[in-house]
Symmetry: D2
Subunit: 338 residues, 4 copies
């Protein structure tokens, strides 16, 4: 099998990581890197002297590529990805896939029409800890899920033309969709623009999934502590995936509420808490981005729908659109009667 | 000065701690303990053989007491506290002061009419860490506050006739009111009843204070990890009070956003993050409950309004009432357009 | 059964804890507290108004007691305990039982001659975590033990007439003797007197047990971090008892070295590490001191040898004596050939 | 200035990291990689397609190199480094520089005779945290040092022809020599060979420096927890460098013993502990290995003695030789008189 020829568009913050993986994968060949800034290209050249460099990504269309990676700023995702698809290239685009659902739908349509692979960089869907959490849910080891709570906080990269919803929440939303395998019905969001007027840097979301399962998502660019956490609370057990924990990222708590089958003298059920062992499973960690890049190549070669397909990217965008509508409304607060 | 004669009504979960402190304070004399359950009285007798015991709190009215502590279940707070005030006794009542604001107002009125001290057991207002946090705010060491985030989570004591709002949130709300010295304008709450229909065991509140300062409060009876945390995010520094941290409960982060006084070539301000030292101040911890009990006695002796006065208790109840109205509404969610 | 009548001699640092437990135990009756300092007696009186108080412990001999607790400074242990035994009282004496083995042997002999219970306050032998660790060793869950490492560090109570060996190491040595059920053959100790000439405030011990099992003990009065840790390294698993850990004091690591039964081409065994799950067992903690006090009463009533008998105390003292001889020698260092 | 032409000998565990840094440094040019194993060379080729590859390091002598990096197994350090020096190449050799002091002295002599730079890879001497610790000592911020304690533990890479002393202790010893700027007078070592007869996998060292300053070093290949820690205990403050801490690797504890200038009534000084704030300084971390590699190039260009010179490597080896003599002796233990 010949290697898939890949070009990278955008060598800024995340692009170098994608580039490295496609360079090292035996199934892909890194052919070119495009970036508008000469200094970024210089950095790429230092690492990959044999790779073609250009400040105009359209040069890539003349290089006989099979696929491109679009890791440019979000507002350019749609135009660049569309251009690449129209030139017959498979596309892996960073999250969020686009800034509105209409654009995402158009990309999906084009890819479908042309039989091309369209994938979005939801890295966490390729993370061993998330895969393990999905297994705990599906095997019912946790019992029925009561709720999910996630937090992704720290001093973040400030982006004037984005906000914390569109920057950080795609990670948590893609995790939730992947873990649960279904779409939320509704979402509410609250938040505040602390530093720049109009740019939300702190947000709290709640997503209601079918069967009344609720997930809470807290994202912040403005917190002193780095937090990366997903908590699953089930009727039998609870699980926490804490990405900052060095000894073991997942803890399974054999804790829960004991619902008795008898009542007390007043006809009321007596509830009790149960605390058992905590287990830190030994999980083999492979670099999630390597798994993602490898999966992209496999999806191209096998003509299969990727896990984080364009459709998955669209679902995240639709949820973000609804969250954006919600966050702008202040009507949700009850006035206090002083 | 003769010691203030104190009786304790309710020797269940928290009553023994109050009893111990009034027993040991040199300014008070523990005279009697009342509890409906004989077994609780037996426990009291084992520790305080000289103390009067009764299953009927009204017996206390014949004992020449000066003051009582009401640490009975919340739904009885109003009736018991009112009865005691009407019998001329100063009252320290556990939080929440009552289950509705009308009742709290009536207690305040009676105490005022009779010149009695009415105080509510907002323990955290007597906690050294909270006092230190208030100092950091008032001295502007943190700059201007952007927002506050609090969390109080763990496997909690299940209460069928309460919910997590009324059980745990009074702590965080009283901390917020004390720290900020002003009342919130509005509140919204979301939550879920996981185990018992209608009993919220997980809740997320947001409170809007004057000058658009927002505080977020997360309370849960159903979380695998014990969390007790208050985060203050300011324009100059940030502070975290983590009650579970053994090495030092408060951390001051010299972190923030640098707002430049110049713009880039496109007329835009360039924001940057700043990370400096972290300081863990050495704080002398006195038992907060001892401070609270001692303050109650002083307020009686000096005829001064206690820090956590009946009025402070009323403010918390009004906020809880508004939160309760809010949590019942589901209209705050945006439907997602699938 | 009538309760055992107990007197406490020494109401300083640890005495109040012992007093509280004997006061609350249903099987014992706290009759008297003796202390040379009036202010300590005042503190005792405030808590236990009905108890007899005296500055001369010999007054206790007239009170019809069954047993005494000796929690005076170590240098007085022998004289006071001997006096009490000679007056026919059962004795629980704080650790170390005496300051030399001859004295300990004399106490054991007297107790034996008079049929009295002599017990030493090795609290950790009554600690649920230590009991669990012993079970892991005996059930061979850890495989064969390779070695044990313990650390007990922090800013400690400075004692001019003691040193860190005699103050802190008795805890770790009694834990080791209890865990292993056998006596060490030899010991070496190194240490330094940092603050006061001649008073060792930092020490490192190594104890060689039968079958070449070695235990390392690190004790310090002069460390910035509070450490209370016992590590067991076995051929199958490893276990850590960390008393400072809030989520769970014991962790079982399914880690080890895999010894293969085949060799490589050069006739050498290929060793590999194995990393499996980590388990934090749910252990029910009872206050160790309550268990200890209760066990003392039971030993008296049942005429049985207590777990931490005088003999156990003697074994610890003999090891400390050898360690003291070792720490004074500097001959163990190799000169470096510069 | 033309870049220094560098060849790497040994592309196993650590070699790839050295290679990457010399590849990326603007002051050096990576010309060749040598390794006996073809598969290692394949890995090198995948990353650096333009680099010369060979299984025989002597091929490097024909390539016009200026310098080589020797990251082969320790037992080959001497022969390879000597050969390279004799061929006129500057040499950076991994730690330990050689397996005995005679060999190290010979390398130093050759390098001196030929005017070549000889440097050993004591990475921690280029670590920002170690540099900060050195500053705290030299500025007397900690007061006078009482003692130093270090620990470097975890499940390590098992090496049949080495032991934990020669594998891990060079890091700690080089840190100590660099921090203190002077040589220890003597050393003692204890340890056990747990898994393979004769191969020590756990060791405890004590090093006595001038002015009676003692340093304790604990190294282990067989501990369930990964520990990387250096504790400095001074008369004014204490400092801990914990490399596993994510929030801040250094903590300065404003703690100490207060030595009074007055005595109590019995002519004795009353000592007290003092506990103040804890500070986590914000330290800019640069990759230590990058600093090391850059320093090697600078030393060559400027004809200056590198910080971790051959002489520094020799000092570490002399200490290890004395420790090895000490660890083999069992005479240091006191028999316990049962």
């Amino acid at each position: 099998m010949t290697a898939i020829k890949v070009g990278v568009i955008g060598y800024g913050y995340w692009g170098p990581n994608l580039t490295r993986n496609f360079y090292e994968l035996p199934t892909s060949e890194l052919v070119a890197v495009a970036d508008q800034k000469e200094e970024q290209l210089k950095r790429a050249k230092a690492r990959y002297p044999g790779v073609e460099l250009t400040t105009d990504y359209r040069e890539l269309f003349k290089m006989g590529l099979d696929a491109v990676v679009v890791s440019t700023p979000p507002k350019t995702h749609f135009a660049v990805a569309k251009d690449c698809l129209l030139h017959g290239l498979h596309v892996l685009v960073e999250k969020p896939i686009t800034l509105n659902s209409r654009d995402a739908e158009e990309l999906i349509q084009i890819a479908s029409d042309k039989g091309l692979t369209l994938m979005v960089g939801h890295t966490f869907e390729y993370n061993s800890a998330v895969l393990a959490m999905k297994k705990y849910i599906e095997s019912k080891e946790l019992g029925d899920l009561y709720y999910i709570d996630t937090a992704r906080l720290n001093l973040g990269l400030f982006q004037r033309d984005s906000n914390v919803l569109w920057d950080l929440a795609p990670h948590d939303i893609s995790i939730l969709l992947y873990l649960l395998g279904e779409d939320p019905i509704s979402v509410s969001a609250q938040g505040i623009p602390c530093v720049i007027p109009g740019v939300y840097d702190v947000a709290y979301l709640s997503l209601i999934f079918p069967h009344n399962l609720t997930a809470y998502v807290h994202v912040s660019w403005l917190d002193p502590c780095k937090v990366r956490r997903v908590t699953l609370v089930g009727s039998r057990k609870m699980a926490v995936y804490n990405d900052m924990e060095s000894e073991g990222k997942i803890k399974i708590y054999d804790k829960g509420v004991v619902t008795p089958d008898y009542t007390n003298g007043f006809g009321e059920f007596q509830y009790n808490y149960r605390s058992g062992d905590i287990t830190i499973p030994n999980i083999r960690y492979a670099e999630p981005l390597l798994q993602e890049c490898s999966h992209f190549i496999e999806s191209i070669v096998n003509h299969t729908e990727p896990r984080s397909s364009g459709r998955a990217g669209l679902r995240v965008v639709k949820i973000l659109e609804a969250a954006q509508r919600s966050i702008a409304k202040s009507s949700t607060h009850e006035l206090i009667q002083w």
